[in-house]
């Protein structure tokens, strides 16, 4: 499929085209996989601080932290994606992301194993998300797959990942 065909297709379906996806990404690791977050969504990166557990919430919610007087939730991205929780290591950090929803701006912490670098990924190096089939963690979380130095980087749609409405049924489906 040529790039132009693909662009045309994705425009029809409302998915951002590869051209829109090109840009700078914060690359981080979960287990031995690489993920990318659009740099514009990232507010800051903080080391692992005391997280206050919030009872009776979803498993993937690690709790809340005090970010300079503001209380923000922190989610464990591994658990959110249906992976096993990893041990908190030296490299474990919280990426503070901010994204817009219909209810306004939401600030959240995302717990990841390790932050690697900021990469600029060109449109040519971005593949559309493959179809994973039904019943698995859906491709909806993934904007595209970036390639850099033979690495494969899953570019996450963080808004989708974090928005509660999308998340629940998916996790249920994944654990079912």
């Amino acid at each position: 499929m040529s790039a132009s065909q693909m662009n045309a297709k994705s425009k029809v379906s409302g998915i951002p085209s590869n051209g829109d996806l090109a840009g700078k990404y914060m690359v981080f690791r979960l287990a031995d996989e690489d993920y990318g977050l659009a740099i514009l969504k990232v507010r800051e990166i903080i080391g692992l601080v005391d997280i206050t557990r919030v009872p009776c919430t979803d498993r993937f919610i690690r709790g809340v932290i005090n970010l300079r007087g503001k209380i923000i939730p922190v989610i464990d991205l591994r658990m959110k994606l249906g992976m096993e929780p990893g041990p908190a290591g030296e490299q474990t950090v919280i990426i503070v992301v901010q994204y817009a929803t219909t209810r306004g701006e939401i600030t959240m912490g995302v717990l990841v194993d390790q932050v690697q670098e900021v990469l600029t990924i060109a449109a040519d190096n971005i593949e559309p998300p493959p179809s994973f089939g039904t019943g698995t963690i859906s491709a909806d979380f993934i904007l595209g797959i970036g390639k850099a130095d033979k690495r494969v980087i899953f570019l996450l749609d963080i808004g989708r990942v974090l928005s509660g409405d999308e998340a629940k049924p998916r996790i249920l489906a994944a654990t079912a």
Binding site: D50, T52, V54, P55, I71, G164, K168
Partner: protein
Amino acid sequence: MAVALLDSAIEELAAAVVMTDANDQESIDTVRRCLQRLREAVQSGGESEELIARADACIALEKRLGVLGAQADALALGALSDAVGRLQTCVATTAQSRKPAAATETAAGHCAAAGKSSTGSRASATLPARVTRDEDTVGLIGEFLSESEDGLGRADQILMNIDHGDASVEAVNGLFRVFHTVKGVAGFLELNEITTLAHTTETMLNRCREGTLKLADERLDVVFDATAMVRRMLGELRAAVQDSTRFATRENLDGLLQRLRLLTEDTPPAVTAAPAEPTPIEPAVSVSSISHRPEALGGTKLRETVKVDLDRVDNLVAMVGELVVVEAMVVNAPEIAKFGSARVRTCLSQLAKVTRDLQDVGMRMRMVPVAGVFQRMARMSRDLGRKSGKQLRFLLSGETTEMDRSMVEQIADPLVHMIRNAVDHGLEPPDERRRAGKPDEGTIRLSAYHEGGSIAIELADDGRGLDCDAILAKARAQGLLGPNDTLSESDTHMLIFAPGFSTAKSVTEVSGRGVGMDVVKRNVEAMRGRVTISTTPGQGTTFKLLLPLTLAIIDGMMVACGQDRYIIPTLSVVESVRPSKNMLVTFAGQVEMINLRGQILPLLRLARLFSVIDAQSDPTKAIVVIIEGMGRRVGLLVDEVVTQQQVVIKSLGQGLGPTPFLSGAAILADGRVGLIMNVDQIAGTTVERRQKTANDSASAPAVL
């Protein structure tokens, strides 16, 4: 011509009526003279249809004036000003038929300004003012100042827009309204110069509004000038009241007034222009008005208000809250404690004091007295009493008690329902009261007072009281209770708060309450408050709302459970005890209860509720905190009570999804986040269980 003459006569009359004082014969005579002129104008106007209509109105007016002469009181004056209003409406309609392009505006606003000329101004300027300057008036002046300044700010904005090409009718209307308001209030306060200027400007603007003049160039300039002039005069007024000196503007209004008039007179109605020579305004007049009783002013401080975006206030309060936390962190830091320096200690205690004061000021910014809501309730109860055919006395006390602004608004709704209930169901009809040996007149007392760190709002009636049997019967009929279930007295009373617990039919006749009472509970709980009922059959019922002082800060009790720390609002804590073995009771080995001096309360293990792993499992080594929510008491088993402290409530934010049993979070002294428990929900879990079992009408208890 005749029409123009008539117009001017009516305007003069309107101005005269505004300035009339019932005790001032001279002003009444002026009105009389104006009326005569008006009559002459009508008679000289020939036989045209519109004028006949006016003549009728005019005659009616003269009759009213006759009444006025005999008994010149406020009522007659009111009638007169109504009549003038009608006359003006009449002129307005005919004027519009003359000028099809004229804007259709409400009669009062239209006519107050329509073609008014210096005649009117002179009339107002020469009438002596009679308002006594007491504290109320000073208060009014304060309000007038801040309101007018708001208005002038708006006017500036509009003028700028017009200057930049916005020629919409809306813009001119906006300007007109500003000057109209200033004129109205200034007239009422007898600030004659301001009235005159506002009035003259308004007149011109009205012409612009009607489309006969165009608001541009020179006219726009003059409105700019007038706005600036009004502002300067307001400044002088402020200074005058504060120093309790006389208010006499140093500004020379004549030039501006004349410019305004000239620009207004662009269109031909010549007759109105006749008395157009500028009338020098005698400062003495307004001096007498303000300095009528200078001793009463005695350096009065104006209570002025500033309108501030509520978000900003909230932000400030939140930041002050942060400061309190940081201050606690600094003062309690072990590194600081190591310093033996007396100077550091003094500074720290000074810091603590300033922080507390600042917190106080911050909280006060949101506080308003409950008087406004209370008075509304008093009015409503009068209406209700009349409608229901019951005589009642409505007593208020503690109206000056201050509460958080947003809460004052939120208590209005519950109060309405409670008062309606008290009148409808609580108070008996007069004959029943007489039989019970009570006075015909029922009494409802609404009071507000401080109780501990909270505010109590109490509504008491001396009616028949709650009838527990009737409520229980109703609850059984509605399926809220199993046929054989019994409840304690206070639980029974709480049933009236159940949603849909309508007593509309059967219970109303017997007694009982409950109409809209679920609203009461919901609203009060939303404010983290509590409702309690105390009632004596035949003597009356008292509802008490216990509300926190502010929504932003609460007194909290921090408890530990395993590694977790939670904050329980102190308002909901009844007591805490370390249970001994014989206080603990279990049912079927599963449902735990605590026997607290004969009171059997359900015992909830926080560890189980919040799935805490490493908590103390032996209750005799732990602490039971007795909490009260939804009118129910529940024992909550925690490891220990850590401390009591004030915390600033923060929202848990979005993105967490539902957070059951929690109402918010706070930042603790060590910078960590503490979670605040939602006591009502926690206490409610036991109610749900009970109701579930009641609905199943099964006697087997549910497992926690």
